[in-house]
């Protein structure tokens, strides 16, 4: 992989998360003819969330393929194409439907490198979208990153900003391993600064989204903006939290997280996914092991309620971590309830 010096560009412009993703795909498709896209309604319609808009026009139907509703087979086909050196980017409309493609992802793509003694590669990206908040009910609202986090052989990115979305997607496409790239449905229209010109963001590089001295809040994807506004509230009360976004969960930049916790002596991990068996629990275990002597309070986890997401708006909200929950957890670690 060619490492283009990361980030910190000079000029920026404001764009939407989905536009940033679109730009990443466009640039990588221009750069490498082996990159091609497949998914439901991504060509003519430009994708349900408009991420692939205009790509059919520029790259033609050979490289932007509309598929039937056949997740297992088009994902499997992408794995096969990747085995032969192509760099497919699959779009799975909702992460819930990725469950139909678990065999090609888990038993095939994730294992190929090892099974071939390190010779075979599967440079595949599965772009998908998760999370609740739209009253889309139980089968269209899940946060399933833990399923993929659990599987050796997969990389896992969950960007929270347009800048990260673009830089990470470009890197994902260039990596030689299968990458699960999870976007959040509530972030597509969110805006943020994106550097002009080409840049990549390496996997395994957490970013401090907001510096602070009193407590470390670790969050990814759509929980990052929530934690940022909780941090503002706390700041008004004189509590300065450091918000750290791992950006990729595999590889996980444990070092950067630990560094922050050693400084603030308190850790609050916030995930939208349900608490049980989640990534937050794993991060908590890493923190207690690596920063045990530094902790002034038990590690807090704020997570989704252990339930399928209900349709009813009020109850859906009651199942997701809220700003107030984050504020309260931070205060608990500071003994200021």
């Amino acid at each position: 992989m060619v490492a283009i010096a990361t980030e910190i560009p000079t000029a920026c412009r404001v764009m939407m998360y989905r536009e940033a993703l679109n730009e990443a795909l466009r640039e990588e498709m221009r750069r490498d003819p082996k990159v091609f896209l497949l998914g439901e309604g991504i060509a003519q319609r430009g994708g349900s969330y408009k991420v692939t808009e205009g790509l059919l026009e520029e790259f033609g139907p050979e490289r932007v393929l509309d598929t039937p509703i056949a997740e297992a087979s088009f994902t499997g086909a992408a794995v096969g194409a990747a085995m032969t050196g192509m760099r497919p980017v699959v779009e799975i409309l909702f992460i819930d439907f990725a469950l139909l493609a678990m065999d090609p992802i888990v038993n095939q793509a994730a294992k190929y490198h090892l099974m071939t003694g390190g010779v075979g590669r599967v440079p595949l990206v599965v772009r998908t979208q998760g999370g609740a908040g739209g009253c889309l009910a139980a089968q269209h609202s899940q946060s399933l990153e833990a399923l993929f986090y659990h599987i050796p052989g997969l990389k896992l990115a969950m960007p929270s900003t347009p800048k990260d979305a673009k830089g990470l997607l470009k890197t994902a496409i260039r990596l030689d391993d299968p990458v699960i790239f999870i976007e959040h449905k509530s972030l597509y229209m969110s805006k943020g600064e994106v550097p002009e010109g080409e840049y990549l963001i390496e996997f395994g590089q957490a970013e401090v989204k907001r510096p602070g001295r009193d407590a470390t809040v670790i969050a990814w994807s759509a929980m990052v903006p929530k934690c940022m506004s909780a941090a503002e509230k706390l700041s008004a009360e004189g509590i300065e939290v450091e918000v750290v976004d791992p950006r990729t969960l595999v590889p996980l930049d444990a070092e950067r997280l630990i560094q922050s916790v050693r400084k603030t002596r308190r850790a609050i991990i916030v995930q939208e996914a349900v608490r049980r068996g989640g990534v937050a629990s794993d991060i908590a275990s890493i923190i207690q092991h690596e920063a045990f002597d530094y902790l002034d309070a038990p590690v807090e986890i704020i997570a989704g309620r252990v339930t399928p997401i209900p349709f009813t708006l009020t109850l859906e909200q009651a199942c997701m971590p809220q700003e107030d929950d984050i504020v309260a957890a931070v205060k608990r670690t500071l003994g200021r309830e």
Partner: protein
């Protein structure tokens, strides 16, 4: 044409009209912000649910889709509880926790709508298997779609149903689109009933907009299933009257095609049957429509006045998850 009683034709028309009016009302409630999330109208496909369900007994099973309001109504659902579900209220069929895409009426054998395209085909085959293992005379009807028929589980499940001779009726509602993807871009063989032939399944293509044609074929298919000679595959050809869901204007659908299918409107066809074969007067028909409209108004009022499930009740329900 067989002889149909006026009552029977009136019942068919009442169902057709109820589905049509229900969806129109649903879209209004959606625009008012009272319904959220996904809403896939059944408008244009009413004759399929109506004709098939008219051929069923109360004990039979139905598995529905994301476009499932019509199936629920055709199985005789209570409109109050349906509207309440769409509004997310505790008096709804699923206590407001399922919503449009997961509406189910277990009391009527409707095992539920489904948000995963194609997933209900194996479920329906399993319902048929269960009935057969228990020695019960029940047929299981799976409503699926042109999109569903391209999913792997469709083929696997149909093959299972065939090799085990299960009492399953699989109905493909071929409305010729999966969201905006026209059928010919998703499959080379657009005559979807032919998929069953390769698996040794009795398979037919029918006009999905003609309620009596649907009814006749469903009746035969159900009888065949009851005799232990199932499964049967019916491809009912139809068309949506609008976009994929309420927020899709469907601009990609050619105007002349929509016009053609609107000219062959299932509700109008059912109305003509009632007038021509049943000898119903305009007045009689109007009174059926008025009764439906009243029932629907009551249902909307009932739903609007219903509370949502409290957080406490919800937590009690998920206790132990």
């Amino acid at each position: 044409m067989a002889n149909y009683s006026k009552d029977f034709l009136a019942q068919l028309y009442r169902t057709l009209y109820t589905i049509r009016a229900f969806e129109a009302q649903g879209v209004r409630l959606y625009r008012q912000g009272l319904i959220r999330g996904y809403f896939h109208p059944y408008t244009g496909q009413e004759a399929i649910a109506t004709g098939v369900c008219a051929a069923l007994a109360d004990r039979d099973y139905v598995l529905s889709t994301h476009r499932g309001h019509g199936h629920c109504i055709a199985r005789g659902a209570d409109l109050q509880r349906m509207v309440a579900e769409l509004l997310g209220r505790r008096t709804g069929y699923c206590r407001g926790l399922g919503g449009s895409m997961h509406i189910a009426d277990l009391s009527k054998g409707n095992l539920g709508a489904n948000g995963i395209v194609g997933a209900n085909v194996p479920l329906g085959v399993g319902a048929a298997l269960g009935a057969k293992l228990r020695g019960e005379d029940r047929v299981s009807v799976v409503f699926t779609s042109d999109g569903g028929a391209n999913n792997g589980v469709f083929f696997e499940a149909l093959n299972l149903a065939a090799v085990w001779s299960l009492p399953a009726l699989i109905v493909i509602e071929n409305n010729q689109y999966a969201v905006s993807t026209p059928i010919h871009e998703a499959t080379r063989e657009t005559d979807l009933y032919k998929r069953g032939i390769g698996l040794g399944v009795e398979s037919r293509q029918i006009n999905g907009n003609d309620v009596l044609e649907v009814y006749e074929h469903a009746r035969e298919a159900v009888a065949r299933c009851r005799e232990g000679r199932g499964p049967v595959l019916l491809e009912a050809v139809t068309y949506r009257h609008g976009g994929h869901h309420v927020n899709d204007p469907g601009l990609y659908m050619p105007k002349d095609r929509i016009e053609y299918y609107r000219a062959n409107d299932p509700v109008t066809i059912g109305r003509d049957y009632l007038a021509d074969l049943g000898g119903a007067t305009d007045e009689e028909i109007r009174s059926i429509e008025a009764a439906v409209e009243r029932e629907l108004e009551n249902a909307v009022a009932f739903a609007k006045n219903s509370p949502v499930l409290s957080t406490g009740e919800f937590l009690a329900l998920i206790e132990g998850y």
